[in-house]
Symmetry: C2
């Protein structure tokens, strides 16, 4: 087993990323891995946005992890930029091998490089294992995350 | 008393916005209203980012509310774009007058216009009045919000 390499995602990574999004107890019903068109369009929007970092983790040539980091400028906290982590997924074959930690640590370091004052994320209230994981990495569950789906 | 008008913020609104950010039990220590330079620099970053909508609410020529809406493209949910509401502040003089509802409803409608599938926000766990307010507007507190300040 070799280490994981984290690099910027390309369009060629999309099938592997979408398969990981669909292989999730909470996300499966919301995905359509057999219809790549909406994912390709979304990838184009991500790829041309300088505040977006969509990355993948690769091991032995296989795409086995992904994470999306968004830089959000703002006025509060003396004009601080914050980053938001979304879309963290680890392939079932490599879970427990430390890749989640490596991806989040990458996101924290990339946020520092970009001058962010804060890294934030939300996690479904039912994912208690994920909550312990983020707390071990230094995050504090200080907020509630509210969502409103639009029709 | 006249209605509130919601419009895009300009650099001239910055002193009023920063005063509202500083007039907050949780935010006061993090702000420096007497030093406008970092806020001006952050406003420039916001103003040139096409995924950002920084708005103010104006009543009788006074800037009495603000909200920041960020559009975030993504791959999950079939390539859905989501929006994030941050920096909601209402001037103490007009609290209870319905402006909070009007600002959040504006953000929801603007998110629909931009094609978002989801609107999300986080609220400090201690702000129980705010939680009831967001639930009345249709939001569900389905997630925990994790934050990690960077040095």
């Amino acid at each position: 087993m070799t280490d994981f390499a984290i690099r910027r995602a390309t369009a060629d990574d999309l099938p592997a990323i979408v398969a990981m999004l669909a292989d999730d107890p909470l996300g499966a019903r919301q995905e359509s891995p057999d219809d790549p068109a909406p994912y390709r369009a979304a990838f184009e929007r991500l790829d041309r946005d300088p505040n977006q970092r969509l990355v993948v983790a690769v091991q032995d040539g296989r795409t086995v992890g992904t994470l999306q980091l968004t830089m959000i400028p703002g006025l509060s906290r003396r004009g601080a930029t914050r980053s938001i982590i979304e879309g963290v997924r680890i392939h079932a074959d490599v879970r427990g091998g430390g890749l989640g930690t490596q991806l989040i640590e990458w996101a924290i370091e990339e946020s520092r490089r970009a001058g962010c004052a804060l890294v934030q994320l939300t996690s479904d209230a039912t994912r208690t294992d994920a909550h312990r994981f983020y707390e071990r990495l230094g995050f504090e569950a200080s907020h509630l995350g509210f969502k409103l789906p639009l029709d």
